[in-house]
């Protein structure tokens, strides 16, 4: 269990780094890292299938999307970047403080991590749940993918209207 707590602390630190880091590229990489650590947590919590999804889709696909957007939209000069970084540091310096505050509050509320007594067994098969009990969600996935396809077609392919 202690190992779980350590992984979770790493997860939090990864997220913190994602938010605090200076360049967007590092932020995207940090997000991927967060996802990867989350994957490990999921493996350890008896959820291998979802973990695989998380690893391939979130750590992989979404990071690729973010990194490509970052590279497509980076025409800043060196000075601007420096100025921008100073600005950011000014705004983000409170985050670690807030985090520490939240941790303290949680400790005061006696919600600190404690080792578990027992870990329940894994339940039913995932495939059964997805295909037999929740087919409606599958239809939902098809629909939202279609909507996403139209979104991508409209937003990426068509030329914007001239103003």
């Amino acid at each position: 269990m202690t190992i779980d707590i350590i992984i979770l602390i790493i997860l939090t630190l990864a997220a913190l780094w994602t938010v605090m880091t200076n360049t967007l590229l590092f932020a995207a990489i940090g997000l991927a890292l967060t996802s990867a650590v989350l994957t490990i947590v999921m493996f350890r919590l008896n959820s291998p299938l979802a973990a695989v999804f998380e690893l391939s889709v979130c750590a992989g696909l979404i990071s690729v999307v973010f990194i490509s957007v970052t590279t497509m939209t980076q025409p800043q000069s060196h000075q601007e970047v420096a100025q921008h970084n100073r600005d950011r540091l000014g705004r983000f310096k409170f985050l670690p403080l807030i985090i520490i505050l939240v941790v303290l509050t949680l400790v005061i509320l006696n919600l600190k991590p404690t080792p578990p007594l027992t870990i329940p067994e894994a339940g039913e098969d995932v495939r059964n749940i997805i295909w037999n009990q929740r087919p409606f969600d599958l239809i939902g996935q098809v629909l939202i993918l279609l909507a996403g396809v139209f979104g991508v077609v409209i937003l990426f392919k068509e030329k914007p209207k001239d103003e």
Binding site: M1, I5, L8, I9, L11, T12, A15, T18, V19, L24, A27, L31, T34, S35, L38, V41, L45, S47, L49, A50, F53, E54, V57, C58, L61, I62, V65, F66, V69, M72, T73, R91, F94, I98, I99, V103, L106, L111, K112, P113, T114, P115, P116, L117, P120, G123, E124, V126, I129, I130, G140, Q141, I144, G148, G151, V152, I154, L155, F156, P160
Partner: protein, 106 residues
């Protein structure tokens, strides 16, 4: 829901709260569109963790995994559409700075 499950739950709960705080803080203070999306992503990570933890402590891991898989698909689509809109805005403004967008008011 027994007290053991509850105790187990609360040993993970603080991290969910921490992740959400990080995500919300990021959305609130950033001036960059993509960073706002990254904040949203971190929030979704927090909630994914929450669902998995709940599945774990109550023994409904299969259900929780099914939910998370659907959630991930939705997340990807939302992010894809959002990124498309960010690119559109970048085309108009040549910038990702939220301060330059404020010609609409709440």
């Amino acid at each position: 829901m027994n007290s053991e499950a509850l105790q187990l739950f609360w040993s993970f709960g603080p991290f969910v709260i921490l992740l959400s705080v990080i995500g919300i803080y990021c959305i609130l203070v950033t001036y960059n569109l993509i960073r706002a999306l990254i904040g949203v992503e971190i929030l979704i990570k927090a909630v994914t963790l929450l669902i998995i933890v709940v599945g774990h402590v109550t023994g409904h891991t299969a259900l929780a995994q099914a939910l998370v898989i659907t959630l991930i698909v939705i997340e990807v689509v939302v992010i894809a559409v959002a990124v498309g809109i960010v690119l559109g805005l970048h085309h108009h403004h040549d910038s990702l700075d939220i301060r330059k967008l404020r010609n609409l008011k709440g």
